[in-house]
Symmetry: C2
Subunit: 121 residues, 2 copies
DNA sequence: ACAAGTACTATCATTTAGGATACTGTTGAA
DNA sequence: TTCAACAGTATCCTAAATGATAGTACTTGT
């Protein structure tokens, strides 16, 4: 009952919880960018996934897509003011991690360990 | 995922991105709670999922589990200071949503609409 | 004697996110 | 003339998250 509940915190969370969305916002905070440029910035993302994340963020009102109707195509993505207004929250999360990062036991690695042990057994 | 990069923002995000974790934190901010009490609080969660979320949060250092070794069992969950230190971030997200909620086109609801239309068709 | 509460775990199924790969049509460059 | 670049889409697939359901061992209340 997180997203179906009206909890505002989860509303905000849902907007940035995609695997690449925070990084998309970070790149677009610097300046507007074109599709293939973003794909190069976010090393490792596939065009399908990038397209989905961008479309969702556009639907959420976080960024706007401008298609110049040229050939070869030129499409520019930039943050809306709504998207830019998330920056303080992202910075707060960044600072929190920098302050408390040492206190967070690395759960991922533990899980890895568990798996290898299970396999050996 | 999001953790593959060393981005601190994503580190923080990963800690609260589980489907029920924000609500778990909210309840535990009020006071410590037992397992079945939390299950009642988070109406709709299954014990399996609650157990997983709690275990992850414990491994992440956000909460501590105290087993009193009694029978019938009594186990109490409470936030650590690390867990409590997330409160300002959650509040920031809450306030952001309350401020900007109207500007967010409801993507979820749109999808719902699509689905019902598809079913009717 | 029997049900309910306690804190879970085990097994199976479903849903969803994301990845791999291939492809589109057009243009300008080699 | 063949190639890369552009901004994607289409199809298929895997992995991870979450849900449904049932069951554990024990005790207290009726």
């Amino acid at each position: 009952m997180t997203k179906h509940s009206g909890c505002p915190t989860e509303t905000t969370l849902a907007l940035i919880a995609g695997k690449w969305k925070v990084m998309v916002i970070y790149w677009l905070l610097k300046e507007k960018r074109r599709f293939n440029q973003l794909q190069r910035d976010l090393s490792g993302i596939t065009p399908r996934t990038l397209g989905k994340q961008l479309k969702e963020m556009e639907q959420d009102g976080l960024l706007k897509r401008v298609d110049y109707g040229e050939i070869p195509p030129r499409v520019e993505y930039s943050l809306t003011s709504l998207g830019r207004s998330l920056e303080p929250i992202l910075i707060a999360m960044e600072e929190w991690a920098q302050l408390n990062g040492e206190k967070i036991p690395a759960r991922k690695k533990q899980r890895h360990l568990e798996n290898s042990l299970e396999i050996k057994d």
